[in-house]
């Protein structure tokens, strides 16, 4: 929950007066609120905490971080639902 994950804004829309986006986190797509980064648009990268973008990030840094997170399994851990799993973490 406490980890910020960088992702790329794929699509932006308004819902109930709030800017929302579809954000791609290295293959995992989630709905993210853009209310705190009004300057960000499609194709830009953001750091997201629990479904809210908190800052813009340059592409090179975002891709580096995502590659690292993918290599050590951080992305699966962050987006996992512990109630949906049968076993538990190793």
């Amino acid at each position: 929950m406490c980890l910020g994950v960088p992702g790329r804004v794929e699509r932006v829309w308004e819902a109930a007066g709030i800017r929302m986006a579809e954000v791609d986190f290295g293959g995992v797509r989630k709905e993210v609120c853009l209310a705190y980064v009004p300057e960000v648009g499609v194709d830009e990268y953001v750091i997201v905490h629990v479904g809210f973008a908190i800052t813009k990030l340059d592409e090179a840094s975002a891709l580096e971080t995502l590659a690292l997170f993918r290599s050590i399994g951080t992305l699966e851990a962050e987006f996992a639902d512990p109630l949906a799993e049968s076993g538990g973490s190793p």
Binding site: M1, C2, H49, G51, I54, T65, G88, P90
Partner: protein, 367 residues
């Protein structure tokens, strides 16, 4: 040095380490406040790559670990009520209360949902107007903007069957408590990058001045952590105490003013108990009077809560940096991630879980 390959840029890692080794002339102890940084330090063996005598003290910056026991028990009591759908971040599901956890409530038929974003909980409330949907709003300054915006939207849209059980904690008062403690050994701090992304750096300036302690904001990746450590050590060796930003790609000095404005509207500062540590004055946020109608503590009668911690668990000492996790007698024996006795073994950011995951079962401990 097998670890260096795992830093992303092994050359840069080596240069940073060489510089650190060339700089350090005597022992130092610094604290990384954030549990994510603890995880990186243990995973990449950064503590073992540092010069002998440079100690990383693991701080209390894991929200799962410090959410007070009575708040976990309160969550369990609310989750057990008929007609309640209780939503939480996944990390909180296995955190032990006095005698149970949310997973246990779920297995007895409770309606417990793991959500990715607090907005998902509001959505559930809209879809199920007949149910009381409660969201467990925990975390540091990084999750507060999300929880604040969620309550604000629920109020705007008049979603009366939604409420928030709030237990937010804040980094700067924790630093104050650590520095004021008579057992404090900390000589420098790595500040948590994304907390500063939201709040900016301004709150740390008075701490640097008051305690003459270097504070360097940095990120969570191995090279960020190394660079943060390097900058703290340069200041310590040079007899300096400054506020420094080693994470400018994500931290602006003023933080995110839009997020700060919403947080200040929805929350107000309050005293807060930290699990294992005790009460830290003005170290939390609760809902402000304008949002009191959305406060789950007021909506549900769950006041008379008696708490009991496992007598085997030394989480308090771990969280205060007094012992390393593998110095707890229960570590890896009675207490494992599968049957945790304390919160630091549950959370992925918890120090005990990090030591367990990366096989620090009985390494010699650098003191």
């Amino acid at each position: 040095m097998k670890y260096l390959d795992e830093f992303g840029d092994a050359d840069l890692a080596r240069r940073l380490l060489d510089d650190i080794h060339a700089t350090v002339t005597r022992p130092w102890a610094m604290m990384e406040v954030c549990g994510g940084q603890t995880h990186t330090i243990i995973r990449n063996g950064i503590d073992q790559l540092l010069p002998h005598g440079v100690e990383m003290i693991h701080g209390p910056g894991c929200p799962v670990c410090v959410t007070p026991l009575e708040m976990i028990d309160r969550a369990l009591a609310i989750a057990e009520l008929p007609g309640v759908t209780f939503c939480s971040f996944g990390d909180m599901i296995r955190v032990p209360g006095s005698s149970d956890d949310l997973f246990g409530v779920k297995s007895r038929g409770g309606d417990i949902r793991v959500v990715y974003s607090p907005l998902d909980a509001v959505q559930l409330a809209k879809e199920h107007p007949d149910r009381q949907v409660v969201f467990f709003g925990v975390g540091f300054e990084t999750t507060a903007p999300a929880n604040a915006m969620t309550v604000r939207l629920a109020k705007e849209q008049g979603i009366a069957n939604f409420s928030l059980l709030v237990s937010h904690v804040l980094v700067p008062p924790a630093i104050t408590a650590i520095m004021d403690s008579p057992t404090c050994r900390v000589q420098g701090f790595l500040a948590a990058g994304h907390v500063c992304t939201v709040m900016g750096l301004g709150e740390y300036e008075p701490l640097v001045e008051r305690y003459r302690v270097p504070i360097v904001a940095t990120g969570f990746e191995p090279l960020d952590v190394l660079e943060g450590i390097r900058r703290v050590l340069h200041q310590l060796e040079g007899g300096e105490a400054r506020l420094d930003n080693a994470y400018p790609r994500a931290v602006q000095p003023r933080g995110n003013p839009v997020a700060q404005a919403v947080v200040r509207e929805v929350f107000e500062p309050c005293d807060r108990q930290w699990r294992g540590i005790g009460m830290i004055p003005q170290s939390g946020w609760r809902l402000s009077p304008a949002y009191a109608a959305f406060d789950a503590e007021q909506r549900f009668e769950v006041s008379s809560i008696e708490t009991t911690e496992s007598p085997l668990c030394h989480a308090g000492e771990v969280l205060q940096g007094l012992i390393k996790p593998n110095q707890c007698p229960a570590f890896g024996r009675e207490c494992t991630p599968r049957s945790p006795l304390g919160a630091p073994m549950v959370s992925s950011e918890g120090a005990c879980a990090a030591y367990y995951a990366f096989r620090r079962l009985d390494d010699p401990v650098v003191a």
